[in-house]
């Protein structure tokens, strides 16, 4: 991102932070259908690219949506992922696991036409069964648009910090 962007202003900034807080609450409560319906736009691109470890002198371009990615989903594909969790036959989630999100460093920029570019940091704690604990840290680059008196995300790029995932899976939403 360039330094030239226009900050969204405090009222929008705090509205977006409140939006993120209720998003987190929905995801922590397992209200995935409500999350998808209310907070995700139907033209979403939900993307978690795979970044290799490359030497600084390597001049190859960064990954694009045509390259390998852990998530590279449109709305229908996100919906499949959500609906799987409601089938009652996802044995790993019975009894259910716990997830807790810490979202910080939210910076909102005005992109015009009621759209905003928002950067944030996310720490994810997952607990399951008796003793399993895993932690993930991610950078998040969103494009939000105003819908009614709230927002919906229509681009979400998730930059996961670890090259090797120290977890059974990354099956959680951010």
């Amino acid at each position: 991102m360039s330094g030239k962007q226009t900050l969204a202003g405090l009222d929008v900034q705090s509205a977006i932070e409140m939006h993120y807080r209720s998003e987190v609450r929905m995801l922590q409560n397992g209200q995935y259908r409500e999350w998808l319906a209310d907070m995700v736009a139907e033209d979403i691109h939900y993307w978690m690219p795979i970044y290799e470890q490359r030497l600084i002198r390597d001049r190859r371009p960064d990954p694009t949506p045509d390259d390998a990615a852990i998530y590279n989903d449109d709305y229908g594909e996100l919906k499949q992922r959500v609906e799987r969790l409601y089938t009652g036959t996802v044995w790993m989630e019975d009894p259910p696991s716990k997830i807790r999100y810490m979202v910080g460093n939210v910076e909102a920029f005005d992109a015009g036409d009621g759209e905003f570019e928002v950067y944030s940091n996310v720490v994810v704690y997952r607990n399951r069964r008796q003793l399993e604990v895993t932690v993930h840290t991610l950078g998040r680059e969103d494009k939000l648009r105003r819908v009614g008196d709230g927002f919906q995300v229509f681009r979400r790029k998730l930059l996961i910090d670890a090259r090797v995932t120290q977890d059974k899976n990354l099956y959680f939403f951010c």
């Binding site: 390998a68 996802v90 090797v164 995932t165």
Partner: protein, 454 residues
């Protein structure tokens, strides 16, 4: 050996639980399986130009695989011969030379030591660089897939794949273009013994309907019928299971190659357009395999799903942990859009956040970690499904089981695992070449079945 008799019982088709847990067993595996077998390193498509390289593992050894100026591939251990520092930390790139960060020794693309700082002034011209190359690894390729081996006495890669090439040619050559791999790989740590996923991919059609019931119902299509393992499914007509001399094996579900892919037009069309040529080259039985869905493992630790097209390596990290690397297989001559769609679908189902793969993690880890308990560990685990409903086949090489839901390929995998662990060297393994399949005692199974059908 190890005070644990009978780790694998080929007659009763069961195994000691120690095979997933015991450190001494694991150390013997490192010596007698991983340091002696051909292990998957990469595919030409991952390092297509001279100078291209990737870093990878052979079990717990770090390796650099490099595309040489003459077009060949060389591999060497990723550790400096000075004080042992890791030479290269990049996942991939293009390099004429690799420089060790510690004191700056320089290695060529083939791993030879080509330069050291202050060679004249401080080594006084007395360093014998010719003897200080990074440790060399045997490399051979098959249809573009690159393997490495740490044992000079191992058979050639072609012999090691052996009669399994009959099956691999069907897909790795196919109508002519063959398959390639797309990276970069996903990488993740899973707390399980490496054999749990290897056996799952080699022969576990059984778990699909139960473990993946939720995902199958979401995906719909051909495989949705498997959800819940309903008793009314005609499993015997839906596919086969195969195992071969060196432990490689797979199960096939007929006519289901792209079944897990939701957006599959390009891939389905590719198969429809090329199957006739496969039939012409390889015959009708292999044309059927070409359009089937395979769950396959190449012994010991490389697995793939043909059709879904995920491609995995289970790098062991001690007896209780692995690092999973996941690539996508695509036809070399498919258009760019089809390749990209196959990659997205394969990742959505079997990547680190896979709708199916995420179901399996706990099966893998808990089958390993329950054996922390001594009373538990003093027991055995069973792979007897379909014993006797298998045997040599008039068309298919190796041993063939009658349904893709069976444990024929588990039996073949563990038969070879035991053979490798028992054998002091490759000579002892080769001595069993003519009798390897004698444990599959129903020699007339397929002849009788074919006669009965006529």
């Amino acid at each position: 050996m190890l005070g644990i008799p009978n780790l694998v019982d080929n007659v009763a088709s069961n195994q000691s639980r120690e095979i997933f847990w015991d450190k001494d067993v694991y150390n013997l595996e490192l010596e007698r399986i991983f340091a002696r077998s051909w292990l998957f390193l990469g595919h030409e498509s991952l390092l297509p130009k001279p100078g291209d390289f990737i870093t990878t593992y052979m079990a717990e050894d770090k390796v650099i695989l490099s595309h040489q100026q003459d077009g060949s591939f060389r591999a060497f251990i990723n550790s400096c011969t000075h004080r042992g520092n890791q030479i290269c930390h990049a996942d991939s790139g293009n390099a004429k030379a690799f420089v060790c960060n510690y004191h700056g020794w320089v290695y060529g693309q083939d791993g030879s030591l080509v330069d050291v700082p202050l060679e004249t002034r401080c080594y006084h011209g007395q360093l014998d660089k010719a003897k200080l190359g990074a440790k060399h690894i045997r490399v051979e390729t098959y249809k573009g897939f690159i393997f490495g081996c740490g044992d000079a006495d191992a058979p050639s890669l072609e012999e090691y794949l052996g009669e399994f090439r009959w099956y691999l040619d069907t897909i790795w050559e196919g109508a002519g273009g063959g398959l390639e791999l797309l990276g970069p790989p996903m990488k993740s740590i899973l707390a399980c013994n490496w054999k749990v996923p290897a056996e799952n991919f080699v022969g576990d059609g059984y778990h699909v309907g139960w473990t993946h019931a939720g995902a199958l119902m979401q995906v719909g299509g051909e495989l949705a019928g498997l959800a819940g393992n309903r008793a009314d499914m005609p499993f015997e007509k839906l596919g086969f299971q195969f195992t071969t001399r060196h432990g490689h094996g797979f199960g096939v579900i007929n006519n289901a190659a792209p079944a897990i892919h939701v957006k599959r037009d390009g891939w389905a069309k590719y198969l429809a357009d090329t199957r006739a040529e496969v039939g012409r080259k390889f015959g009708p039985e292999r044309e059927e395999l070409y359009v089937g869905h395979w769950n396959c493992s190449l012994f010991p630790s490389c697995s793939f799903l043909y059709g879904t097209n995920t491609f995995k390596v289970w790098h062991p990290r001690g007896p209780h942990e692995i690092e999973v690397w996941t690539y996508t297989m695509v036809p070399r001559d498919a258009d760019a859009e089809t390749k990209s769609m196959i990659q997205r679908e394969a990742t959505r189902s079997f990547g680190t956040a896979g709708t199916l793969e995420s179901d399996d993690g706990e099966n893998m880890s808990s089958s390993t970690f329950v054996n922390r308990g001594t009373i538990t560990r003093n027991g055995r685990i069973s792979s007897s499904m379909g014993v006797g409903f298998e045997g040599p086949h008039p068309v298919f090489p190796g041993i063939v089981g009658s349904s893709f839901i069976g444990e024929t390929s588990h039996r073949g995998f563990y038969r070879f695992w035991k053979e490798m662990l028992d054998a002091p060297d490759w000579k002892a393994v080769k001595a069993n070449d003519d009798t390897w399949d004698s444990m599959f005692t129903n020699r007339n199974y397929w002849n009788d079945k074919v006669d009965a059908a006529e």
